[in-house]
Subunit: 423 residues, 2 copies
């Protein structure tokens, strides 16, 4: 029995080499079709695999699970079973789909018809009920860029920035899945020399982020160390922290972002497990000044995940406007969770914790329009001759991410959302 990450694994199902959903990936999601309601699923090549049906057909015999664990609107119950059992499920899926599988699916076309749905026929749903949502601010390049614009390069980073992973609470119930149209928000806008006015945001932006999902809760008052942290993390998604810069600028002092964010955040539908990402671990950046003991860590806590943002006009003209990487984060996910719980804060299965905008060191790797166009001073030229300082009505923002090594690709699919205007 080969472990699911083994690069030697091949599937009897045809999977293109360019697919995000190799047999080494086995992410988890929730989908529905016209024929049935929400079902837990995984992705294999160009197919959504109905785990509820696999469970009904007995393919998970020997793994103790509630009969309806994959027939719920969210994966929270599945994730809450704990890593021992969710790993057993991932291993079983690997064994079902591998070449020379001992399981009957590969030769049973009736089972295949029940279990496999072409991706284009599946409606992907939010994979988890997000209990609480925290957004960090963990890319030094992003914090430096934004700080430079507003305070100059000498004062770009706030004094606390290198001592702790700055974060804030976001709104959990307005995180939507990829595909949801985003309404251009209204709000208070204020030019420097005039009174605030009511109007629509003119400076609508995306933020390229990744989010991790809590897979195990702690007790009130219990800290989670950096060494334990990854046991509490189930996996990751792509995350677009939509931001109305003009609303945010006027409202955020002194208590932080509010309506400039809460109209919508969006997430990709597939949760890629930390297990699937293990081969792509890399060392994090050196941290100087040294961090306090509770933030010290050992091992490779960074992830080499290529990230990119593509902008598409309403007429279908596309341009990749950012190529970045998860490894650029200064603060890793173990440090984020250790910091989050240092005060005894309780976390719960389904909590989402996002990275903050992941910008890289140079132009071309910046993760927001604010940085890409440097506050609008360097507009993006689109293939149809139009230009963008921020996001226009009708534009669609695609974020994609994947890791690749030794011929194995483990990807996240995409989070893609169109901006609409209801005014």
């Amino acid at each position: 029995m080969l472990a699911p990450n083994n690069p030697a694994l091949k599937s009897w199902l045809e999977i293109p080499a360019s697919s995000d959903f190799s047999i080494q990936n086995i992410p988890f999601g929730v989908f529905q079709t016209g024929a049935h309601g929400p079902r837990g699923c995984t992705a294999m090549g160009a197919y959504v695999v109905n785990l509820g049906m696999l469970h009904d057909l007995g393919y998970f015999n020997g793994i103790v699970m509630p009969p309806d664990v994959f027939k719920q609107p969210y994966l929270n119950t599945f994730i809450a079973m704990g890593k021992e059992r969710t790993r057993a499920v991932r291993q079983r899926i690997s064994d079902i789909f591998k070449a020379n599988s001992p399981y009957p699916l590969k030769d049973n076309s009736e089972h295949q018809q029940h279990v496999l749905t072409p991706m284009y026929e599946a409606e992907m749903l939010m994979p988890v009920f997000v209990r609480d949502y925290t957004d960090f601010y963990s890319s030094e390049y992003h914090a430096f860029n934004v700080g430079t614009m507003f305070r100059g390069p000498e004062n770009a980073l706030m004094p606390n920035w290198k001592h702790l992973p700055v974060g804030y609470h976001g709104r959990a119930s307005t995180i939507y899945v990829s595909g949801t149209d985003v309404h251009r928000p209204f709000g208070q806008l204020k030019a420097d020399d005039s009174d605030p006015v009511y109007g629509q945001s003119k400076l609508l932006d995306f933020e390229l982020e990744m989010g991790f999902i809590i897979g195990k809760g702690n007790e009130m008052g219990q800290q989670i160390s950096t060494a334990e942290a990854e046991d509490y993390i189930f996996g990751m998604v792509l995350f677009n922290d939509w931001s109305a810069r003009d609303i945010q600028k006027w409202e955020y002092v002194p208590l932080g972002p509010f309506l400039g964010k809460s109209f919508a955040s969006t997430a990709s539908p597939w949760i890629v497990t930390l297990d699937a990402l293990a081969p792509f671990r890399v060392a994090g950046p050196p941290q100087n000044p040294p961090v306090l003991d509770y933030l010290k860590y050992s091992g490779k806590k960074g992830f080499d995940i290529h990230l990119e943002v593509m902008l598409e006009t309403e007429q279908g003209h596309e341009k990749v406007i950012c190529q970045s990487n998860h490894k650029y984060l200064y603060w890793n996910i173990a440090q984020q969770l250790a910091h989050h719980t240092v005060n005894g804060c309780k976390v719960e299965v389904g909590d989402m914790m996002a990275s903050g905008t992941i910008s890289g060191p140079e132009e071309g790797s910046y993760g927001s329009m604010l940085e890409i166009t440097w506050r609008g001073s360097k507009p993006v030229e689109m293939p149809d001759g139009t230009s963008r300082k921020f996001i226009q009505d009708g534009d669609t923002v695609y974020m994609r991410g994947w890791a690749e090594k030794e011929g194995v690709r483990v990807g996240f699919g995409e989070v893609k959302n169109k901006v609409v205007n209801r005014s």
Copy 2:
């Protein structure tokens, strides 16, 4: 049939005049005992009234409700039935308990034994599953006091403060019910001239607030006007927004409060409906400069609710250290909700929106230790000769609130929590 608020209503059950839970109140909560799990309930004088049992016994016949609506861990399903039906339930409860009630409870001692639990035998639970939590900052006196301490009286209020109800996202899953011990949090603390250190908060504080609970959701992109807002609000609770001032001070720039708040917030277990509070409406303060159109409102949107904070030492020495009032809020709850949704933000049944610290205009009415002791410069003298700059281990903070008029008292009970130290 007299409406539930009618001051002429008396109950066949003996209710002391000093009780928060007059027959005119009829708040909603969730309790359990050793004999049964969570049950929706109301309070009548010194008794918890088991609504699940009343429902089983047929007392709600004629009101369409799921049979298990009061046998769930939270009231969300009940609240989501809508005001027409929850009002019918409140009217029915009033009719069951009024003098000369046509319902059999008043003469049926077996039914009474099933339905009535003395309050001291009931364990009160969180009344709602808080889907998302927002904290506003709506008391001018509080914002002015805090601003004065940090920036002087000329710059006390930020430029946006009188143009919009400043608010921020808080952590919903760490809101605990009254009675829960609060752990003194650890975190990063930084004195002005030295590097940050890891340690326990020394400046632990309460914030006297009230929270309102959303009773009806909107759609993504749909604004709620000030005129409609109260249709979306089910009722209110007392709320203690515990704050670690030292942790907060170092972490909060530029994205707002995080770990200085997320270790715990606490709420009173009884939700008093807006209907029960209707007789206590008062005009709000004049707002100058004039607000934008979407924040304009008509009618009396303030509430004359007396609020107080009592501090009790571990040895049982008590002192009332604050007497304030909900009417001191500059921004009312209709404006808060209209602002919250002006950007199209979706709200959901069970969302909690707290007021921010409710300080009054003079000393004695300040709603936090930070203000009461003016950053520790005027310690509170306790009856046992000890003094307090902030909250000490073993101290219990009680917050109470009630409205009173024409001999009718409608109260919230209390939110009471002891500070413990696990180090």
